[in-house]
Symmetry: C2
Subunit: 437 residues, 2 copies
């Protein structure tokens, strides 16, 4: 077990091993539960109990007393996926882990969640997944997704491309939910793929009874085995454990801080719904690329000197100048309404245009399309060569601009790329029907 | 009529007046329709026709020919609301116009929409509104709402307070939709009010057949006559002309660029629904202040040196330093997920804290609550004294911070204000149920 020093002496004093039921008394409060193992890097002075309620509790052992109630059963021998023989009747799926809640555990000292599992651990924790595919697993990062950066998108895309070159039938990327939609958009622009690339995650960590990690992973593997060879996000459809939705990687956004069905298609609908690791139904209104219809292509040059600027009443136009002075290569404005900023911003926006810095206009409404033709403010922005982000979210427009400026540095070419649908991010259809669905 | 010079000669040549049906030939294309009047400040070389389709069309008269088909009926004499005698059986409502689409007309030269109507014009255009209340009208501004600024919020609040002091029974503020939710939040913090203050607007200008201006105004007057003495936003509930929703001014957001039902309660529900200018039903789950329960109070000090910073993968931490160096007094971060930023931002955030600059954490998910206790990133932010925005949208947190720093400049006091519910902006209830409703 991974208990050491103080905690180990404490446990040894009562001859307690992992899996045993114990009673712990501390400050006149009694706790009864099963002793759990804990993560390698955690503090020495704590033990972790699983209570009857299903919740896990970290107990500081100083001044605590422990008593053995019942020896636990012998722990089952865990699978090692690498020792499982490949079944030629099953498809080969790569699982690439980058960290996030889907591969996290709680730090029982502070109660905060840390990324800790690798893709390998994910399979060990959910051995029933071994029945549905052969796996190759790779731990690329072990970070919470707020720490993702554009250069990590490039590394992840290259790892995925290597797996596909090696002949796997689909790829699942385990990822934190905070910036999953940025990563799914980035992979959509960087890669053309003959096989499914499915990004998934969890809102509750795997060691909690309410975890959504298993269902999301289970259905993502089903999506990776399917005919839908796009970059997609596969997450819970609703609050219960029924279905998952498969969203287009460029048309999805995290819309709730904590709900398990937080990911929503924006200005689009999900491509498909999954149940029991199988496609349950495909949405006839959404296009997708069929398995094998595209060759593997990697265009991984990104420009990372790009910023998102949100407009608000009182914003200072110097903010645009700051970014120009700092050498930024492009800006995405999250404007109000149909795509507006205060009119006193116009001079700085013209200056950006004079210096060949493309500015993409998006809307903080999120739903609907930018249209700078309707109001006088918008007309002035069009005259200053501000480029419409169409019905892209500000986040997707940002990722696309990083990619577009990586492909070409000429203003007109970048404008052309931004206004051309590359990976399902721009929709010709009316945006009126896709509201809060 | 307001046609002058070239256009006037052109019309006079065929003895055409406003309201007449005419045929215009230009570049071998024939247009037939009724001659409309046009706004004062528009270009001289155009006339405007209302086509049978209901659409209005601007025609450049150079090289055009005009022919009179039928003289129009004598225009009806328009009401002048100021000449209408006050009816002591009706309530007294003030209408304050600030501009926006609700009081806009199309510039038929460019097709773009300009603000042009005053509150007075609004009543002239909709004389049936005179049946339901006595009015005092005031044109405060004539701007599109992307050009609103915090100092205008203060002026508007003072105007409203004057009307209430003068004894009106309710106030309707006609406003552009782009930043309506910022203004409704600002009025909510600045004013305590014994009577309803209803902010309304339109997504389609009054001269278009699909305009929502009338229904929104009609129901807003009903809301201003009601018992709900809060600052509220009254806008279309759905796509048809049935109901309007009355949203709490601190819990509402523009969520679609163009739909008429764009305003949605976020992390809350509407207070009431209106139909035919009357409260149709009141939501039992939402609290509101009853008419007369509060005395008029105006706390109108605002700090305007505040910024919203949106976090994204690749954001540069220098952006925080820039705002500190520029003397900003407070920052609102639109973080990812439960309220996170990349960990390399932490040093700059600590520097802000060392310089007593409060930082409020909100979430770009919009729905749900910030909770920095769950993940290690959040714990570090709490240790750097980052203040949780709870379930406020980034926009409301921004307005509230402007107001809080106007009330007090001590860090602990500002923190206390930000964490205390002042005007319904912070909800104790679970945020899980209010998702995309």
């Amino acid at each position: 077990m991974s208990y050491k020093k103080l905690a180990k002496s404490f446990l040894d004093s009562a001859n307690v091993s992992i899996g045993d039921t114990v009673k712990v008394e501390k400050n006149k409060v009694l706790y009864e539960g099963m002793l759990l193992d804990r993560s390698e890097d955690s503090d020495d002075g704590y033990i972790v109990l699983k209570l009857d309620s299903g919740y896990n509790l970290g107990v500081n052992i100083s001044d605590a007393k422990i008593e053995l109630i019942k020896k636990g059963e012998e722990p089952k021998i865990q699978f090692d996926p690498f020792e499982i023989e490949e079944d030629i009747n099953k498809m080969d799926i790569s699982i690439i882990s980058t960290g996030g809640t889907v591969s996290s555990v709680i730090d029982y000292k502070t109660g905060a969640v840390h990324p800790a599992f690798t893709a390998d651990d994910l399979l060990r924790a959910n051995p029933e997944l071994l029945d549905i595919a052969n796996y190759k697993v790779k731990a690329l990062y072990n970070i919470l997704s707020e720490n993702m950066k554009p250069e990590y998108w490039v590394e992840a895309a290259n790892s995925i491309a290597n797996e596909i070159s090696d002949g796997v039938d689909g790829v699942v990327v385990a990822h934190g939910t905070d910036t999953m939609h940025y990563t799914s958009a980035a992979l959509s622009f960087i890669l053309e793929t003959p096989v499914p690339i499915v990004v998934t995650g969890a809102q509750r960590s795997s060691d909690r009874p309410s975890t959504d990690a298993y269902l999301n992973l289970f259905n993502s593997i089903g999506a990776a085995k399917s005919e839908i060879a796009d970059v997609t996000v596969c997450m819970h459809e609703g609050l219960d454990d029924g279905y998952c939705c498969l969203h287009k990687g460029t048309k999805v956004r995290k819309m709730h801080t904590s709900r398990r069905d937080t990911f929503r298609s924006i200005n689009s609908e999900p491509i498909a719904r999954l149940k029991d690791s199988k496609i349950f139904n495909i949405n006839p209104n959404v296009d997708y690329n069929k398995r094998g219809s595209k060759d593997l292509t990697l265009r991984d040059n990104l420009e990372s000197k790009i910023a998102i600027i949100k407009s608000f009443p009182g914003i200072q136009n110097e903010l645009i100048d700051y970014h120009i002075d700092k050498g930024f290569k492009g800006l995405v404005i999250e404007g109000t309404g149909l795509g507006h900023v205060p009119d006193y911003m116009l001079d700085s926006i013209k200056r950006a245009n004079d210096e060949n810095i493309p500015i993409i206009m998006t809307s903080q409404c999120l739903y609907g399309k930018v249209n700078m033709n309707v109001y006088s403010t918008g007309r002035k922005l069009i005259n200053a060569n501000v480029i419409s982000g169409g019905d892209m979210t500000p986040e997707v427009a940002y990722v696309k601009l990083c990619w577009a400026l990586g492909q070409n540095d000429k203003f007109d070419e970048v404008k052309n790329i931004m206004e051309t649908n590359i990976a399902g991010e721009l929709s010709e259809k009316s945006s009126l029907k896709y509201f809060l669905n």
